[in-house]
Symmetry: C2
Subunit: 376 residues, 2 copies
């Protein structure tokens, strides 16, 4: 909870700023989503804007540009969901933009932890005689940018494991079939998430057996990068991930150095009309498998700031075992299989005292299914 | 939904009748729970009662006896949650009791399907010039007496399987420990249920490994019968189920005919000061196990009309495999084990098309856990 006291109208405008910030979801990464609302001295909204796309203007710029009558900026309050930037990036620093206006107050939901900002934006505004209040709806602002904040803090992507299982924890029938355990409403959630995460990840088995597309359908939204862990680098070339219109968004992670070096030869690739237009990354091997810890670090460099893992049992359990999962989204269908493939098996726990407990748990009904959300 | 049209006050009084009926839960079996409210011609409640204990007066009798001024019965309406009985049992027929009163109307939630009643109570009242409306809050009344109705219809107990598992469907850690997966609020639910079901059932492994008491603690209520399936009839004599103060409420089911016949010898028992004061039932063997289908029929004769199964994986899966489970109550704790004992394994399903789908599903948060309720 914020320890600063704000008025009801302050809260209303910050809520609006958070709401419009979210429209940038999926488009602004690796930047944070930011929303900005400008309110005149007499309490009327005179401008609003959000960071729409990476490389394009920041929320503050868009909000200022949307003001029709600049006269009204005199004594106005600016609500912004993240501390205005203090450095020259693709755009000039927003703290300078705001300080040049005749506004009297800036309300900021949270500080930007990025070292280049980290309080400098706030200081700049205060140095220019603007009242700055920080912390209004801080939790909501942190929630909105959980991917960005995690990436800034840990230098690796925020990883969410998605599971769709029966009540008794099975993700596939004994004959291997895993289709349609959860209902259509749950699947729509997954497509929405795909449009919000930088990348979707699957393991070799899932790529091979299900031949998924991992694209956003059913809902509007940006197509994600698609990561497949293919240790031996020998998945068949005709899988959807390697042949469809989003081929360039596919990233293969392998630990087969020899094959990688052969296939990565640009001259050889040019000679082939059907060379793979996506990206292949080489990472170390660890115990016969692709080193997932290193994989995450490599992906962070691209940059990939957030990953939705739609893996089967092997990759899901491996990520949990290596404590690389930050959040679990688990759909539970009101059905029982009583056999088949368990969602998770083998994460190295032996005793109750080692059990993985989730934080900030939420249970929501989605169609006939139940959606569990929890943090690790 | 009922297709009869009732007034708002009709509904209010029937709701009250249903509410007081439930106070008999656990005490009236194998009778149904019944509640009765009497309302004077000018709309005042003048009496109420419920069936409190098996062998004691019915709800109608208690309600009539509670009326202080019999003058007010003239033109009154009687609300009763189940058709008044039409046969001489432990008490005289309630339809006669009501027909002898100067009341003008009886509102009944549902017909009694018992062959001895089955509309005869309603007919008797109508034959005595009393207006009878049937069907108000029928679904709620059926829900209230789901054990009784099932028992009447199928001649076997209503069986609820209780599961307490992690999100990923494990009921014990790899080292076998199963204690405290679910939270204290969930455990209070289980104790409440124990007081409402005729019996609680466990398998041999659970009796041996957990040495449970299966008693009602933490909440007020009647102690249930305790059924343990012990095929070879060789569980150690010092288990809680065989030695505590509720020893007489323990029922052992075995298929070891030889041992059963030895141990059941009343002369031999009398000679032993520590003979088992509970009950042992012999049922057939089927594929090396106690025949559960026959076990249910034997238990129905006692009579046991409802069973809460608090079993481990083996018995739970066997009951599901033989389609002997009517309802599942599954607590899901916000935790992951990623290994250990699965809640259910081996129910004979091989393909998605054979998946068990639940009806009338309910998801409720209980403390930090989620409680799933569904019918099979």
């Amino acid at each position: 909870m914020s320890d600063i006291i704000m008025s009801k109208s302050d809260k209303k405008w910050m809520e609006l700023a958070l709401e419009i910030a979210e429209r940038g979801a999926g488009y602004v990464s690796p930047n944070p989503m930011v929303g900005c609302v400008i309110v005149s001295a007499d309490g009327q909204k005179i401008g609003q804007g959000y960071h729409e796309r990476y490389g394009q203007p920041h929320a503050e710029r868009n909000a200022v540009d949307s003001v029709n009558n600049p006269e009204l900026l005199k004594g106005a309050t600016v609500y912004v969901t993240l501390e205005p930037c203090a450095h020259h990036g693709n755009t000039p620093p927003c703290c300078e933009l705001l300080a040049d206006l005749p506004i009297s107050r800036v309300v900021i939901a949270m500080e930007d932890p990025t070292p280049k900002v980290a309080g400098k934006g706030i200081q700049y505004l205060r140095d220019h005689d603007i009242t700055v209040d920080v912390g209004l709806m801080k939790e909501e602002a942190q929630q909105l940018n959980e991917f960005f904040l995690h990436y800034q803090t840990h230098n690796r992507p925020f990883v969410t494991l998605k599971i769709a299982q029966t009540l008794d924890g099975y993700i596939a029938a004994p004959d291997g079939d895993s289709e349609w355990i959860s209902g259509p409403e749950s699947r729509a959630f997954v497509h929405k998430w795909r449009s919000q995460y930088d990348a979707v990840m699957v393991g070799r088995n899932t790529a091979l057996l299900d031949n998924p597309r991992l694209t956003v359908r059913h809902v509007e939204g940006r197509q994600p990068k698609r990561i497949v862990i293919d240790g031996p680098l020998d998945l068949p070339r005709d899988l959807n991930l390697f042949t469809d219109q989003y081929e360039e968004k596919t990233i293969v992670l392998t630990h087969n150095k020899e094959k990688f070096e052969n296939e990565a030869d640009p001259m050889l690739n040019m000679l082939q009309s059907d060379y793979f237009r996506g990206q292949t990354l080489l990472v170390d091997e660890k115990g016969g498998h692709t080193d997932l810890d290193e994989a995450m670090r490599e992906l962070a460099h691209l940059p990939v700031t957030s990953i939705l893992v739609e893996a089967g049992q092997n990759l899901a359990s491996a990520l949990l075992r290596q404590r690389l999962v930050d959040k679990v989204e688990c759909f539970i269908a009101p059905k029982m299989l009583g056999g088949g493939t368990k969602s998770v098996m083998g994460v190295g726990i032996n005793r109750m005292s080692e059990i993985m407990e989730f934080r900030d748990v939420q249970w929501r009904q989605v169609g006939n299914d139940l959606l569990f959300t929890g943090y690790l």
